[in-house]
C-alpha cells in the first residue's frame, strides 16, 4: 500500500486551494490581519500553526474514544493551550525579537478558529494518520495565504522582504526610491490585509467557477 492513498492526498491538497481555511471558509482572519505586516512574522506564524494543528489533531484523534463528549471542548482547549505554550517558550528561547513582534498573537493561536474547527470537524471522527494529514493540509492552506499577504504587505508597505531592503533604501534614496517612489503606508495598517485577502478571494473565485455561490 502506498504511503498516501488518493483520499489522503486530497486531505493535504484540498485546503491549499479549493477548500482553503481563510479564503473559502473565512476562518482565522484575525491573525491574518494582525501579523502579516512582515513576511518573517507570517512565516513564523504559519510554522507555529503547522506545529500546533498537526500535533494537536493527532493527540485529539488518539483520545477521541475516551473524551466524554460533554467536556470535549475543555479537553481540546487544554491540548491546544499546551502546544501553544510550547511554541511560545521555544520562540522566546531561540527567537526573542520575533516573539516580541508576534506578541500576544502566538498566545492567541488558542483562539484561532481553524484549530478548534479541525479538532471538532475532523480529529474527533478520524484516525491519527488521517487527522495528521488533515492538520498539516489546513495549516499549509492557512500558511500559504499568510505568506502571500505578508509578501505584498511587506514589499509595498516597507519596501523590504524578510527585512532585506529589496527596493533600495528609503532614507538615502537609493534603488527605486531615487525615482520618487515611496512606501505605501496604507499597506502597514491591518485593513490593507483585509483588502489583500479580498483580492485573493476574488482572483480565486474568478479562476474556479465551482466556488461561485448561487443566490
Amino acid at each position: 500500500m502506498a504511503l498516501l492513498t488518493k483520499k489522503d492526498t486530497s486531505l493535504i491538497l484540498d485546503p491549499l486551494a479549493d477548500n482553503n481555511p481563510i479564503t473559502i471558509q473565512v476562518l482565522g482572519i484575525c491573525s491574518a490581519l494582525a501579523i502579516t505586516a512582515e513576511l518573517k512574522a507570517s512565516v513564523v506564524m504559519a510554522i507555529s500553526v503547522l506545529f500546533v494543528l498537526g500535533v494537536g489533531n493527532v493527540v485529539i484523534s488518539l483520545m477521541r474514544n475516551i473524551i466524554p463528549s460533554k467536556i470535549r471542548i475543555i479537553v481540546q482547549l487544554i491540548v491546544v493551550a499546551t502546544l501553544v505554550i510550547i511554541v511560545d517558550q521555544v520562540l522566546k528561547a531561540f527567537a526573542y525579537e520575533l516573539s516580541k513582534t508576534l506578541s500576544v498573537f502566538v498566545g492567541l493561536i488558542i483562539t484561532n478558529c481553524i484549530i478548534m474547527g479541525r479538532f471538532e470537524a475532523f480529529a474527533l471522527g478520524n484516525g491519527p494518520w488521517r487527522s495528521f494529514l488533515d492538520g498539516i493540509g489546513n495549516a499549509l492552506g492557512y500558511g500559504v495565504i499568510l505568506i502571500i499577504v505578508g509578501f505584498f504587505r511587506e514589499l509595498f508597505g516597507s519596501g523590504t522582504l524578510f527585512g532585506y531592503k529589496v527596493l533600495g533604501d528609503p532614507v538615502t534614496k537609493t534603488g527605486l526610491y531615487a525615482t520618487g517612489y515611496e512606501n505605501n503606508g496604507f499597506m502597514i495598517i491591518p485593513p490593507a490585509a483585509l483588502i489583500v485577502v479580498g483580492i485573493i478571494i476574488w482572483v480565486q473565485r474568478s479562476k474556479n467557477k465551482a466556488l461561485i455561490e448561487e443566490n
Binding site: G180, Y181, E182, N184, G185, F186, M187, I189, I195, G198, W202
Partner: protein, 424 residues
C-alpha cells in the same frame, strides 16, 4: 459628401457593427458613446421618456465644476507667488489674482492631475468593460473631475495613478461598477492617498505649489491651511480674513477653497435637479449645530486656552462652512445619488450627520485637522441602513393609520365605527 469619404462617426459605427459580439466590442462602443449620441433605438415599447440620460447628468455636474477648476488655476499661482513674494498689501482682484502668471502656473500644474485622473480611470473602465463584456459605464466622468480637485497641488502623478486604480477597482468595480458602489469612488481615492502617503496629504508644505521641492533650501516656502493654524492654536497668527475664506484666496486642496464658486455650482445643480437640496441644507445645519456645541463648550469654560482643542473649538461656528473641504464635500460629494440616501427623510438624516461628523472629526482628529472625506465615507456606509429604517417607519405609520381609521357614517343616525384592518 461622397459615400467613400467616411466621417469618424461612420467609421466608429462600422467598426461597432463589425466587432459586435466580439470581445473588443465594448471598447469601440465606449469610444462611440463617448463622442456621439448612441444610435441605438429602443426595440420594445418605451415606458419612461426623459431627456437626461446618465451621460447628460454627469456632464451637468462637470459643468458645475468648471468654474471651480478655472479658479483653482488662478489660486494655485496666487498662493505660489504670494508665498515667495509676500501677500500683496492692497489686494486687487484683477492685478494680483486674475493675471496670466497665476493662470499659467496653475494650468501647467493642475492639468496633469486632471489628465492622469481621467487617463488612468477611463483605462480601467475600458478594461473592465471588455472583461465583463458590458457597455462601458460613464460613471468615471464626474469622479475623474472631482479627484484632481480634492488633492493637494503637489501630489506626485504616480501616486495619483495608483490611488485611482485602487479607488476605481476596489471602490467601484468589485461591487459591480457604476451605480452599484457603496462608497464614493473619488473619496475612496482621497482616503487611499491619505492613508498611504500621509506626508503628501497633510502638513504645511503640501498646499502651496513648489513648497515640497523647496523644503530645506534657503528659498523654502510654506502655506498652512486655516484649519492647520487653528489645530496648532495659532489662530491669531493667521492673516486670512473672512472674505479671503469665502472667495477662496487661501491655501487648500486644489479646488476646495472658493466657497463662492462652489455655492454657485451647488445652486446650478439644485436648479437643474441633479443634486439634492435636502442633503446640502441638512449638512449645513449639521455642521452649524456641531460648531455651536463646541462654541458653547468653550464659552462654558470647560476648555481652557491651553487645551489642544481650543483653537478649533473656539472657531466661530459659521466659519466652519468657509474653510477646508466642507463646502466642496457637501455640494459635490455628499449629493452623489448612488452612495447617498434615496428617501427624502433619509436625506435629511444622512446630510445632517455628514455636517455634524465633519466638524467633530475636524476638532478631535489629532493627525489631521479635516474630516469631511471620512464623514462622507462613513455616512455612505450608513445610507442604506438609514433608508431601510425610513421605509420601515413609513410602512408602520401607514399601517397604524389604517388600523385607527374610522369609517364616517353615511347616514346621520349611524355612529362612526372603527375600520378593522383584518376585514380589508
Amino acid at each position: 459628401m461622397s459615400d467613400k469619404k467616411l466621417t469618424l462617426k461612420k467609421r466608429l459605427h462600422i467598426l461597432k457593427h463589425r466587432f459586435r459580439g466580439k470581445k473588443m466590442a465594448p471598447a469601440f462602443n465606449a469610444i462611440h458613446t463617448f463622442l456621439f449620441a448612441p444610435d441605438e433605438t429602443t426595440h420594445s415599447g418605451s415606458h419612461i421618456r426623459v431627456a437626461d440620460d446618465l451621460k447628460r447628468t454627469m456632464n451637468t455636474v462637470i459643468m458645475a465644476l468648471i468654474p471651480v477648476l478655472v479658479f483653482s488655476f488662478f489660486n494655485t499661482g496666487y498662493q505660489h507667488y504670494s508665498a515667495i513674494n509676500g501677500f500683496p498689501d492692497n489686494f486687487s482682484l484683477v492685478n494680483d489674482f486674475l493675471n496670466w502668471d497665476n493662470f499659467w502656473l496653475g494650468f501647467i500644474k493642475v492639468m496633469p492631475l486632471v489628465i492622469v485622473s481621467y487617463g488612468v480611470g477611463l483605462l480601467i473602465e475600458f478594461i473592465f468593460a471588455v472583461i465583463k463584456g458590458h457597455e462601458v459605464e460613464e460613471g468615471y466622468l464626474v469622479t475623474g473631475m472631482l479627484v484632481p480637485l480634492i488633492v493637494p497641488i503637489d501630489t506626485p502623478l504616480w501616486m495619483l495613478a495608483v490611488a485611482v486604480v485602487f479607488g476605481v477597482v476596489i471602490g467601484k468595480e468589485v461591487f459591480g461598477g457604476t451605480g452599484m458602489n457603496i462608497l464614493n469612488p473619488a473619496l475612496t481615492i482621497r482616503a487611499f492617498l491619505f492613508f498611504a502617503y500621509p506626508t503628501w496629504m497633510s502638513g504645511d508644505k503640501v498646499w502651496v505649489q513648489g513648497a515640497v521641492e523647496r523644503a530645506g533650501t534657503p528659498d523654502a516656502i510654506s502655506g498652512e491651511t486655516v484649519l492647520g493654524y487653528l489645530a496648532q492654536n495659532k489662530g491669531d497668527e493667521m492673516a486670512y480674513t473672512v472674505s479671503d475664506m469665502f472667495f477662496g484666496f487661501i491655501p487648500g486642496s486644489v479646488g476646495e477653497t472658493s466657497v463662492l464658486l462652489i455655492l454657485l455650482g451647488g445652486l446650478f445643480l439644485v436648479f437643474t435637479k441633479i443634486a439634492s437640496w435636502r442633503i446640502m441644507v441638512s449638512a449645513v445645519i449639521g455642521a452649524l449645530v456641531m460648531g455651536l456645541i463646541f462654541n458653547g463648550v468653550v464659552e462654558a469654560g470647560w476648555i481652557g486656552q491651553s487645551s489642544g482643542f481650543y483653537g478649533l473649538m473656539s472657531f466661530e461656528f459659521w466659519k466652519h462652512l468657509l474653510v477646508g473641504g466642507l463646502a466642496f464635500g457637501i455640494v459635490y460629494m455628499a449629493t452623489d445619488p448612488v452612495t447617498g440616501s434615496q428617501t427624502n427623510r433619509g436625506k435629511w438624516i444622512y446630510g445632517f450627520f455628514i455636517g455634524f461628523i465633519s466638524v467633530m472629526i475636524r476638532v478631535f482628529n489629532p493627525a489631521y485637522p479635516e474630516g469631511v472625506f471620512l464623514a462622507i465615507l462613513l455616512m455612505n456606509v450608513f445610507a442604506p441602513t438609514i433608508d431601510h429604517y425610513v421605509v420601515r417607519g413609513n410602512i408602520r405609520r401607514r399601517l397604524n393609520r389604517l388600523k385607527n381609521a374610522t369609517v364616517l357614517p353615511t347616514n346621520s343616525g349611524e355612529e362612526a365605527k372603527e375600520l378593522k384592518v383584518e376585514t380589508i
